[in-house]
Symmetry: C2
Subunit: 185 residues, 2 copies
DNA sequence: CATGAAGGCTACGATAATTAGCCATCGACG
DNA sequence: CGTCGATGGCTAATTATCGTAGCCTTCATG
C-alpha cells in the first residue's frame, strides 16, 4: 500500500459508536471522531462519504452487536423461556447502549439498517413464537412481542414511564401477559 | 405596548410544527421559521431562548393536540371498545403527523414533554383498562397497551415492519390479543 | 531509483445558530 | 402635545460544523 494508514474504517466506526453513546447523536462531530482516532477531520472523508454514512455504519455495527448478543441464546426447550430470554436480552442491550438502541429503532430520521441484518436478529424470536402460535400467526406474534418490548424500552429510556410503580415489575408482568396471549386457548 | 408586533409566540410554534412535519426535525432552521412568520431569524430570539426551547414548545403543542384528539373519545360502555378507540386514535394521529409523533415518543434526545400533559393524554385509557384488570394492575395494563401501541407505530413509521403481511391486520390482531390478555381469566 | 496511488494535511467556502448593538414605534406621563 | 423608555425588529458579526480543493509525503512496484 501507498502510505502508512493512521487509522482504519473499523476504528472510525468504533470511535463514532462510543462517542455517540457518550455525547448523544447530535453532538457527535467529525472533529471528535477524528481526534479520537488520531487524524484530522478531513481525513475521515477518505474512508466515509459523509456524516450520514458514518451514522449508518454505526447503526449497522450496533445491529450486529445486538444480533450477536441475542444469538447467544441458550437452547431452552421451552419456547416461553426462549422468548423471555430474548426480550430480556433486548432490554439489557438497550440499557447498556441507550443511544445506540434509540438509533436503531424509531429514533428520528435515523438511517435504517439493512433488512437482512435486522431480520437475522429477529429469527430466534420468530422461531420460538412459532412454536406457540403455529405457522399462521408466527409473524403476527413476533411483531406483537417486538412491538411491545420495543415500545416499553423506548418509553423507559425516554423517561415516559415515570408515573410511579416498579418498572421491572411492569416489564415482567407485561412479558408474562404477552407470552400467555400467544398460546392457543 | 411599545412597538407593533409582527408575530406571536403562537404563530412561531405553529410554523415550527408545520415545518418540522414537512422537512423533518434536522432541516428545521430558524431561518425557515422566521421567514414563515414574516420576520428575520434573530427576532425569533425575542420570543424563544434557542432552537431547543422552540422544539420543546413544538413537542408540548403536539402533546396537547394528541390529548385533545384522544379526549374526544365517545363514552362507549364497553371498556374494550374504548381501549380500541384510544389505540386507533393514537395510530391515526401518528399517521397524520409522523414526525411530531416520533418527536413525542422516544425519538433521539427529544425534549420530553411535561409529565402533566402526558398524564392527561393517558387518563382515559387508564380508566378503561382499570375496568378490565381491576385497580391493582391498572397501571401495568395501561403500560402494556401503550408500550405495544407505541412500539408498533414506531416500527411502522420507521419501516421496520416490512417483512410482508398486512400491517393493518397485524395491528388489529395484536390489539385484540392485548385487550384479551387484560381480562381476568 | 523513479513513480503514482493512497492517505494525510492545511486552507477554504457554505450554512446555521446565536449574540451584540442600533433603530423605530407608541403608550404613559408630565 | 412633547418626551421617554421598554419592546421588538434589524443588520452585522461571531462561532461551529460539514464538506471540498488542492498539495505533500510515503512506499510498493517495476
Amino acid at each position: 500500500m501507498p502510505a502508512p494508514e493512521k487509522t482504519t474504517l473499523d476504528q472510525i466506526v468504533t470511535a463514532a459508536r462510543d462517542l455517540v453513546e457518550q455525547l448523544g447523536i447530535d453532538d457527535l462531530t467529525m472533529q471528535a471522531v477524528a481526534t479520537r482516532v488520531g487524524v484530522r477531520a478531513p481525513s475521515l472523508y477518505k474512508r466515509v462519504r459523509d456524516r450520514n454514512e458514518l451514522l449508518a455504519l454505526v447503526v449497522a455495527s450496533t445491529i450486529d452487536a445486538l444480533a450477536s448478543q441475542l444469538d447467544a441464546t441458550l437452547d431452552d426447550p421451552d419456547p416461553r423461556t426462549r422468548i423471555r430470554t430474548q426480550a430480556d436480552g433486548l432490554r439489557r442491550f438497550a440499557h447498556e447502549r441507550p443511544v445506540g438502541y434509540a438509533l436503531l429503532f424509531g429514533a428520528h430520521g435515523a438511517p435504517r439498517g439493512e433488512p437482512a441484518a435486522l431480520a437475522r436478529s429477529v429469527t430466534p424470536l420468530l422461531d420460538a413464537v412459532r412454536e406457540l402460535t403455529g405457522d399462521e400467526h408466527a409473524l403476527d406474534g413476533a411483531r406483537l412481542v417486538t412491538a411491545w418490548a420495543n415500545g416499553f424500552i423506548t418509553m423507559e429510556l425516554a423517561g415516559s414511564l415515570r408515573m410511579g410503580g416498579d418498572i421491572d415489575e411492569a416489564w415482567n408482568w407485561g412479558l408474562t401477559r404477552i407470552i400467555a396471549t400467544l398460546e392457543p386457548h
